[in-house]
């Protein structure tokens, strides 16, 4: 059976590049979302400690 080498190269390269791209994208989104949540949570903490001081 004849091997379709252009397909092999395509699967090989698109696979390696594809996995890296998805994982890098996921890394960026994870960092971004955790940073946003950190900000929101620290903002929420500041607000609750301020209201406690006022009381």
């Amino acid at each position: 059976m004849e091997t379709n080498w252009s397909k092999v190269i395509e699967v090989f390269s698109s696979g390696i590049i594809g996995v890296f791209l998805v994982m890098v994208l996921l890394q960026i989104l994870t960092q971004l979302s955790t940073r946003v949540i950190d900000l929101v949570e620290s903002w929420g903490k500041d607000e609750s400690s301020e209201s406690e001081v006022k009381k």
Partner: protein, 372 residues
């Protein structure tokens, strides 16, 4: 009396036994030994071994299409893609993505280890396998049983038994396969690197992670949807903390039930006619090659990252990028603590370990997209 005895003997399966059946019994007994005595992945290897044994008893017709009991498990469970995603649901309900969220860089290690998988794809082609078969063999390097089964059932169902047993056997052999590779590709100095403590991760971050990940991966690589959606749903159950019953059901009862059907069905695909051919030996060899190369690729990726990082990571954690949760992470921890007693790498290695699960699913989805 003699006639009755004669009829009984000639209608029994014993007269239809072939040499191939006997060899497959031997394979089953080796797996029984590994599962019971050595306790290598017993939850899977035990039902697989029993499946092999019963399907190689002549005239039982357990795998006869439309009639055999195990054929129904196989047909509706695996051919219909039900069981692997359900296993992922249970896996998600057990996994803690906290170390990954605390150190998202480790996602790259999960990607790095997948490079080995594509090298194996290339090697399998050189060994004479066709494109679909090569893809199914390569995924063994991801060290993820359900993903291997999912992809093989789509691309090369005739190789299902060999690739599944190969994947689970090598996963069980992580403590034997990985350490020599770790020591070969890292220096003593590198293995001694102590990593800084992981930052705490809030509950909200853990709840958001499965949602963000599911949306991202399914938008970019839709063929990953069946596995990744179930994995992230299970994790959302766990992290939300509001559906304890569903979390427990996914991680325990459901997981146990589908594991029985999965093991039995996989074992039952291994009849003498499908299993006893030279290709299977090559599959086991290439599976091992995939595992070793993926481990090496993860280690090299970690070393590459260290060239750019201010806070160096211990390159050993790259080896955990092959998934095999949590055996690979434990193995990293053991080798790291041998080099430096103060080194506690388990939690650091869990990041790339769970990233490896995601990476393998993405790699499988890309293979499916290109070859399916």
């Amino acid at each position: 009396m003699f006639d009755i005895l004669k009829e009984l003997i000639f209608s029994s399966g014993a007269v239809s036994l072939t040499g191939g059946n006997l060899v497959m019994w031997l394979v089953a007994f080796v797996l029984f030994y590994l599962a019971i005595k050595k306790q290598y992945e017993p939850l899977l290897l035990l039902p697989i071994a029993f499946g092999i044994l019963v399907v190689n008893l002549p005239l039982t017709f357990l795998m006869e299409p439309e009639h055999g009991l195990i054929w129904f498990f196989y047909h509706y469970g695996i051919e219909f893609d039900i069981i692997p995603p359900l296993i992922f649901l249970g896996l998600g309900a057990m996994i803690d993505f906290g170390p990954l969220i605390a150190n998202p860089k480790t996602l790259l290690l999960g990607a790095g280890a997948q490079a080995g998988l594509y090298v194996t794809f290339f090697a399998a082609i050189l060994f004479g396998f066709d494109l679909q078969e090569a893809g199914s063999i390569a995924i063994i390097g991801g060290a993820d049983g359900p993903t291997t089964i999912y992809l093989t059932s789509k691309l090369a169902p005739h190789l299902l038994g060999a690739t599944a047993v190969s994947a689970y056997a090598y996963m069980a052999l992580v403590p034997i396969i990985q350490p020599p590779m770790m020591k070969l590709l890292t220096t003593e100095h590198e293995r001694k690197i102590v990593m800084t403590k992981l930052r705490p991760v809030s509950r909200l971050q853990k709840v958001c992670f499965p949602i963000v990940t599911a949306m991202t991966i399914m938008l970019v690589v839709p063929p990953a949807a069946p596995l990744i959606s179930m994995l992230m749903l299970g994790n959302l159950f766990k992290e939300s903390g509001v559906v304890e019953r569903l979390t427990n059901a996914s991680a325990n009862e459901l997981m146990n039930i589908v594991t029985i059907f999965l093991g039995l069905s996989i074992g039952a695909t291994m009849t003498a006619t499908t299993f006893l051919n030279p290709k299977v030996l090559f599959i086991f060899f290439l599976g091992l090659f995939a595992f070793v190369v993926s481990t090496g690729a993860g280690l090299l990726m970690a070393k590459l990252m260290n060239l750019f990082l201010k806070d160096k990571i211990n390159p050993l954690i790259g080896a955990a990028g092959v998934s095999a949760v949590p055996m690979a992470a434990r193995c990293v921890h053991k080798v790291g603590s041998e080099a430096n007693r103060r080194n506690y790498l388990l939690m650091h290695a869990m990041g790339p370990n769970v990233a490896g699960v995601i990476g393998t699913v993405v790699a499988a989805a890309i293979l499916l997209k290109n070859l399916g």
